[in-house]
Amino acid sequence: MSARSARRTGWNVVGVAVFVVMVFPVFWMISTAFKPTDEVNSQTPTWFSGHPTVQHFADAIHKPFFWDSVKNSVIIVLIAVAISMVLAFLAAVALAKYRFTGRKLFIVLMIGIQMLPGAGLIIPLYVVLARYHQVDTLTGVIVVYISAVLPFSVWTLRGFILGIPKELEEAAMVDGSTRLGAFARILLPLVAPGLVATSVFAFITSWNEYIFARILLNDQSKQTVTVWLSYFLGTSRNTDWGALMAASTLTAIPVVIFFLLVQRKIAFGLTAGAVKA
């Protein structure tokens, strides 16, 4: 073996090792979730269980407040994503198509706001929301999530809108379409994949969010899934690892499914658009 191919093999080994380290936690979570309790608690780990069980999932689902938290998360995320997509889309159109006074300031503010660490905002947000009696209500969290997701969404959508040739819209207007008609028939369908991609991002961010939900929702029946999961460990010394991993898997599933579903759609949308244009 020459020195060169030896080096190449070396790099491949490194690559495989990195891959294994990256994937192992996910594998271990799922593997643990399906193992019987005695295999979970044994000193020598079992890599693949001989007798998988769904007992841990049943335990996790029957824990108090599981369905409450799922319901809360779904409500919060859906409303927050829907509202922020409408707002972000209109703002992005304005940014991409019109030159208005204060446009530059708007851009600077939007990028700057994204940089603020979320943890730095908990005090002011809490104080403001408490003044309007929005602590411990879902609306308070929805408002916070909308404001958290907006800057990124506006920025991304603006990029998508700019990617659509202005001539297409102009051609429609030459053919007798109104400005609004061109917007609805040309711009909107072409931006659709971008809208989907951006809302997926907004969905994932809001679903995963922890700290704001943690401070704004004290009532256990009002918490979101991530907060519910963070309290799962409890205080007892004998942790039910199997159920914890089952609960973790359940929390991660919507994100993964959503991502996979839409990933195909984005690819499809992009190619469809390319053929038509």
Partner: protein, 183 residues
């Protein structure tokens, strides 16, 4: 994967009774890690938090760099190769300079995000094991401002944090604003 989920998996893998990490390290003869408690010292706690953050951030960084790499014009690389440059020189003199802006943006973004990190550290160390010794800035803020309900002090910490972030993000914001100006 949600951060809270990642924390729980990390905690399960490193628990001292039957964590799989201790088992693997012992089996590989790296040392005797039987019932080694990773949460015993501040250093080891924070190292685990760091590893968790790196694990979570790697895919994003890798994908971004991959996308940037595929943007490097083939012709430039070929031209350098025809001129007799060795792979290492091609990388240093052609690929790397083209990647530099992306690397800079990624670096400043990562610094900014990880500076304000809260969830992973707070949950992995465990709310009951948080002590001034293992405070991060965001946790300090949370404890003083929120747990002790001292909003004044909390706001003061926020402002100090924001000033530091503003200084760090100067490069990134300037770059992005310039992107926005072009169109």
């Amino acid at each position: 994967m949600p951060q809270v989920v990642a924390v729980q998996v990390w905690y399960w893998m490193t628990n001292y009774q039957n964590g799989v990490v201790n088992y693997v390290l012992t089996q590989l003869h790296i040392g005797d890690f039987f019932q080694h408690d990773w949460y015993a010292s501040t250093f080891s706690q924070l190292s685990l938090v760091t590893l968790l953050i790196v694990w979570g951030a790697l895919p994003f960084v890798a994908i971004t760099l991959y996308a940037a790499l595929s943007q490097v014009p083939r012709e430039l690389v070929e031209a350098a190769e025809i001129d007799g440059a060795r792979p290492r020189r091609v990388f240093l003199d052609v690929t790397l300079p083209i990647l530099t802006p992306v690397l800079l943006i990624l670096t400043s973004l990562s610094i900014l995000w990880d500076f304000g990190v809260f969830t992973q550290a707070y949950l992995l160390i465990g709310p009951s094991h948080i002590t001034p010794g293992n405070y991060l800035m965001s946790i300090y803020l949370f404890q003083e401002g929120f747990q002790k309900a001292d909003y004044g002090k909390g706001s003061a910490i926020s402002i100090v944090m924001l000033v530091i972030v503003a200084a760090l993000s100067f490069f990134y914001v300037r770059k992005m604003v310039r992107v926005g100006e072009v169109e």
